[in-house]
């Protein structure tokens, strides 16, 4: 073993990578303006200007493409760039004249510029079939198909009343914590786990039983070996059991698919942060381009874009018009699954006679 081995030194200090204009104006920015879709300028107290060009990316990037980003940063930004929490890449410029040539190069590379202000930004998403063991759907493929359809809302070709944030998680683990998005696409299983032979050799049975939030798992004996059985009527397909025991697979080509949730947000602007709520309980997986999901998302976006007031987020819009009207306008069928039946379910029942007729 190498004697030089270092541990616990943490990430390199971010200050090493800040461009000079940021070092000079750190904590001293005065205001910003959106100059055009995907381009903004920040102005310092002393008048310095920093231009940002934001480009959409597929999140899954090969080193070849990252090297291309580095080239562009060298060519236009003195070698400086950053990424955003929504997987966009941002080029940081001081010379306004470089903006348009940079945008042209980005377009030539196939990257749209946009996602700032009242726009649909990139979809935050997870690994899906590319690399995840518990995925109920693919992630990158659905995202690609949805963004192909919505890119005009990203690049500013189409105007919208406010921000709209879409996120996708390929199972309830929600590595992307999608549960507070204007539109969330969530992979779901619909069949209880299949107990595999030899479970007791791979997993500790008490741990497996304890993993289930609804106590659907009970000890049993299979061919003389200790194992577990599932009370299917209690299973809500959360896959907690599979997380602690790989001998309880949930993935099922026939029954996996996605659900769509709407009206969540994290920002405190105007209304308080809120959870997304169920809009479409289930859509089958339709690789490679998930047309039903794409259409459903588009319909929801259009209903909101048509009806929302300036700045109004999806959740505020729906609260104003009421859920019955949301279902009517989107044409989504209201079903039993829409009504909560887990803990505190009653809190989401309508407890007044204030209705629109």
């Amino acid at each position: 073993m190498d004697t030089q081995r270092r541990t616990d030194f943490g990430p390199p200090d971010f200050r090493r990578f800040l461009p000079p204009v940021i070092k000079d104006n750190y904590g001293k920015w005065k205001y910003h303006e959106i100059l055009k879709p995907g381009v903004m300028v920040h102005v310092g107290e002393g008048g310095d200007k920093l231009f940002t060009v934001r480009a959409g990316s597929p999140r899954l990037l090969g080193t070849k493409r990252i090297r291309k980003y580095a080239e562009l940063a060298d060519k236009y930004c003195g070698g400086h760039l950053r990424f955003t929490s929504r997987h966009n890449v941002e080029f940081l410029l001081t010379d306004e004249a470089n903006i348009d040539p940079l945008i042209k190069d980005l377009h030539d590379l196939g990257h749209p510029v946009g996602g700032i202000g009242p726009a649909i930004s990139s979809i935050v998403h997870t690994q899906g079939w590319v690399h995840c063991h518990s995925a109920a759907t693919d992630a990158s493929g659905v995202v690609k198909a949805v963004m192909d359809d919505l890119h005009e809302y990203f690049d500013g070709t189409k105007q919208i009343p406010g921000k709209l944030r879409i996120a996708l998680a390929c199972c309830l683990n929600m590595c992307g914590a999608v549960h507070c998005s204007d539109i969330a696409i969530l992979g779901v299983h619909r069949r209880p786990p299949k107990v595999q032979q030899g479970l007791n050799k791979v997993c500790e049975i008490p741990n497996v039983i304890a993993a289930c939030p609804t106590a659907a798992i009970r000890p049993s004996t299979v061919d003389g070996n200790p194992s577990v059985e599932i009370d299917e009527s209690l299973c809500m397909f959360c896959a907690n059991c599979f997380s602690v025991c790989p001998a309880l697979p949930m993935a099922d080509a026939l029954n996996d698919g996605v659900s769509i949730w709407v009206g969540g947000k994290v920002s405190n602007a105007r209304s308080e942060p809120m959870f997304s709520k169920l809009a479409v309980p289930f859509i089958e997986n339709e690789p490679p381009r998930w047309p039903t999901v794409v259409q459903a998302v588009r319909k929801i976006v259009e209903v909101w874009a048509d009806g929302a007031r300036p700045y109004e987020r999806m959740g505020d819009f729906i609260e104003r018009i009421g859920w019955p009207k949301f279902f009517k306008l989107t044409g989504i069928e209201f079903q039993k699954e829409h009504i909560d039946d887990y803990r505190y379910a009653g809190l989401s029942y309508k407890r007044s006679a204030q209705l629109r007729h």
Partner: protein
């Protein structure tokens, strides 16, 4: 090996995802597969198979890692190793990103060099928690990759039951609304809690996220056990000339600004904008809408909220208020002590896979506060309880009452 020439594409379904205007992840994998990168070639084929069969082909590994660390590596194996041997092991490394995701072209190339040499060349920039995700390598390459990364000054991020890689919004580096130095705090917490980040000792994961203002650009209130959200206590700074300029530019201040204020604490008479700051809840709406005219105050700090999580295990939660206002200056001792007190209680009483938010629910916020030595405040709740099943903790016995009667009342 796949047939891509003559007989048409080996990946007809994935090819469909190279069409359209949004940049394609399939193109990314193909670009890397182009000059003989077997891992990427086989990944394409395996993914094509998933697309055909509508099912994933990955298994979770529970043991692989780098020496001494319990986090930072996610083990992955495919379930068809004979057919796809180049990606039979295809582990992920989570590399702690520079706070704020700032890079120079030089350091980006360095990461690319390391990953071309030691892995598939595929990445996520970035993963959901914020780490640089190096996607796919063999068990044998894990230690050499870590070695090369450490020479370039990059350490691994968190995974498992540990402090996950903390993240922060762009903060004072490029945002006039940052009410504290999100980047510095995030970097400081990351460095302070290296042991907690690399050696899982908690009941489950713990996330810190630092947002500079209530717009919460890193979604801390939805995604972090400890959400640190910048705010201010004094008055919104107003430049009335700029307000008038927005009005002249066509903004409907009455309807879109005052009308959208959640507490209706603003008034516009066509010339001056007036704000009743004592009723402003710091929602950011008016400031977002008129960044040239309005700015947060100068007595800034943060609100600390606790307990957000995705649904697993007991259901999703948003963070709720723990400290209504705190000043945040280095060395940030108060917030670090608070985190340690929370971890102590959680380590003592948390069940396996129970997040802090779930523990808070299970024992009740009141008891939780007592345990971590924080006074209850009305800011912590939306409303007092409406259910009368109160767990009163004390009552008098008859003897006590007599004893009490004998004592003269302390307060007249």
């Amino acid at each position: 090996m796949s047939e891509t020439n003559g007989k048409g594409s080996a990946t007809p379904l994935l090819d469909e995802l190279e069409k359209g205007d949004w940049p394609s992840f399939v193109t990314q994998i193909k670009e890397m597969a182009a000059d003989g990168n077997e891992q990427c070639q086989q990944l394409l084929e395996l993914l094509e198979r998933s697309y055909r069969e509508k099912i994933g082909h990955w298994k979770h590994g529970g043991i692989v890692g780098v020496h001494g660390y319990g986090g930072g590596v996610i083990g992955r194996y495919n379930d068809l190793p004979e057919e796809f041997p180049a990606i039979a092991h295809f582990h992920t490394l989570r590399v702690n990103m520079p706070t704020g995701w700032f890079y120079t072209s030089e350091v980006l190339r360095k990461i690319c060099d390391i990953w071309d040499e030691h892995g598939s060349g595929l990445t996520n920039m970035h993963g959901s928690t914020g780490d640089i995700i190096l996607l796919g390598t063999t068990t044998d390459e894990l230690e050499p990759t870590f070695q090369a990364l450490s020479e370039a000054d990059f350490d691994l991020g968190g995974s498992g039951s540990d402090v996950r890689t903390p993240s922060a919004c762009v903060g004072p580096a490029r945002c006039e609304w940052a009410c504290y130095d999100t980047l510095d705090l995030c970097n400081d917490l990351t460095q302070t809690f290296q042991d907690e980040l690399h050696r899982p000792a908690f009941p489950y994961k713990f996330k810190f996220k630092c947002s500079g203002c209530p717009n919460d650009c890193v979604a801390s209130i939805a995604r972090s056990d400890m959400s640190i959200i910048g705010t201010w206590r004094d008055d919104i700074r107003i430049d009335q000339d700029e307000v008038r300029a927005y009005a002249e530019g066509g903004m409907n201040i009455e309807r879109d600004i005052c009308g959208n204020c959640p507490t209706k604490c603003m008034a516009w008479d066509g010339n001056e904008l007036e704000i009743d700051n004592s009723n402003c809840v710091k929602c950011m709406h008016c400031i977002n809408a008129m960044p040239k005219a309005l700015r947060p105050g100068v007595d800034t700090g943060a609100t600390i909220l606790l307990g957000a999580k995705a649904p697993i295990v007991q259901g999703a939660q948003l963070s709720s208020v723990l400290i209504p206002f705190i000043k945040l200056e280095p060395p940030y001792q108060e917030i670090k002590d608070l985190a340690e007190r929370i971890w102590d209680f959680w380590g003592e009483h948390g069940k396996n896979r129970e997040r802090v938010g779930e523990l808070m629910q299970r024992v009740g916020l009141g008891n939780f506060l007592e345990a971590i030595e924080v006074e209850p405040l009305p800011e912590m709740i939306a409303a007092p309880r409406d259910n009368p099943y109160v767990f009163y903790e004390e009552y008098y016995e008859e003897e006590d009452e007599e004893a009490e009667e004998e004592e003269p009342a302390a307060v007249p």
